[in-house]
Amino acid sequence: MILTYLIGALIIAIGISVNRNKWVNYSLAGTYLLLQWIFTIYACFHLNETDLGYFTYDSLGILLLITLSIIAIPAMIHSKIYVENHHESGAIRAIYFLSMVGLITAIGAGYLANHIAVTWIFTEITTLSASALIYHHRNKLALEGTWKYVFIGAISITFVFIGILFLSLSIQLSGTGHMSYASLLENAHLMNPFWLRLAFLFIFTGYTVKLGLVPMFTAGVDAKDKAPAPAGALLSSVLMNLGFVGVFRMYIIVANTPLHHWANLVIGISAFLSLFVATVYMIKVKNIKRMLAYSSIEHMGLVMLGVAAGGIGYYAAILHIILHAFVKSSLFFQYNQLYRVFQSKSIYLVGNYFKYNTTGAMVLLLGFISAAAMPPSGLFVSEFLIFRSLFEAHQLVLLIAVLLLLTMIIWAFGKNILKILFIPPVGFNENNVPRISPWESVTQFVLLALAVYLGLNPPVEFVHLIEESLILLPH
């Protein structure tokens, strides 16, 4: 089935690039969504089966694939709105949809890959398609953002490859040449710890560019700033999840060796530094899109703290990345409407959003409450569980430091969002404000509601899938 899916996506992509007619493009994008959902449903019914040798429909992959398919629908809808509002030419529109299809397909296939090299290949493809999206506006700033993303992405992907090479050195002793995650896990206890250490360090560092952690987070922030908001929503949610998958699958292997504690330390340091960096930037940032991007870094830092703490933290981490994907993508979709009203992304030049677009302002307010993890947000549950895991791991000092940093982040985030919502902007000309249909916000409300529902009242199957994806970790 995955072969059909990949070939189908390829045919649709070729179709989009060949025919530049507007309606052909839209209908092909719609067909792609249909294909994506058929594939997702097929995958759900074939849990834990291997397809094509290199792909397994395991629980972690399925969970994230469903998340991806849900977010893909509003992403395409908002892309259509975006493209129409900007009156893009046929070629640019075709490249945009082509890259969207490529990005979503590569992310989905990357989730399901059961071989470390296959995950790596699809991560490479996401760099390629994301760079086409970042370059969408074809101006100097977009070029700068794309250049940084491509260059740092290339170096990171190289780091992952070095990690894979070291991993292959470490398994040579165990006598197997196969590098699927399952066979690596089987031979985990035979691996040479020196090479395994180096491998984990390089693979972790490499994937941080997608995951958005210290040290490679900078390129991702620039990318989300310059990419059109519907694409930025994908970069800031599902693509980060791909980075998580890359790190987490490797982490499972290391966790089953004596290096478990050391790996936790590495992840914990990187996660705490990310939180710290996110706090510093959140306080001074005045660009709304970058503020949302830094908020993503904060959340990924929390997720990895949960992983490092272990115990209930693993469960919380997976819950958190899924809920965060819904919340952050809905905020990015909303950002586009905000930009259409004010024609600016600087916090100084926007304000009193409730007056100009009440529905959109509601999304922004609810999105802020969700992202700041205040009840009834689903993220409250997962963050609470992460704190509990830190407490149970006897990391009280760390927990207090994290809580202090989070307080500062919520203060900075709240100050900016409330300014956008209520304080009138100076020198803003009200005459040209476009009327924005409330219907455009429906998908954003749905995503936010989904985050609340899954956090507060998770269905049994959902909990079961999360627990099953943690089964390989030592308890």
Binding site: S131, T158, L165, L173
Partner: protein, 210 residues
Amino acid sequence: MIDVLLITLLITLFYMAIANRLMTYIKVLAIQGVLLFVVAFVQLEEINPLNLGFILLETIVVKAIVVPFFLVYILRKNNITREAEPFVSNFFSLIITTLIVVLTVLLSNTIQEAHLDKIFFIVAMSTLFFGLYLIATRRKIITHVMGYLVIENGIFVLSLAVGNEMPMLVNLGIMLDIFASVLILGIFLNKIGDVFKDVDVQQLNSLKDV
């Protein structure tokens, strides 16, 4: 034989550390491409013709001919001045390169394993770190690209060390090289030259938080 070739590769790094002109960098990159081909040819004993063709394409055609010519073309097209403009003096560069090599030698001495040829590890890691050093200390965007190409060469050496057991990894590495070179050089440097008149990293600082 392999030792001699790999040490020659190491020497090219020292040469690159003190070179002043961009043309020298390009020539060194071309020489490294040829060296890598010979190393691959000697090292991979039981190689099938298809793989050999692939490696030949990657090292001789891409690394030694296409990329250098393309870099020269970019230099001419964008009227990039011929100086490399490092932030640090050549003397300092030489010392740091020496330190990098010494440190990797010390690191490799801590490895207790008979499986791996240590020289591969030393040369690969030195090349990798030297590439990063080159990126950090040169002013022009095009020297960043050259630094990346040096890193790629280091990785190629490392993949050869495991190439006999896992030929798949060598092919993957080649795929990475070609993919990244095409993406960075082909699509990008062309555009960058058109938009940013003087191709200098100082120009790439407009994306800010405030």
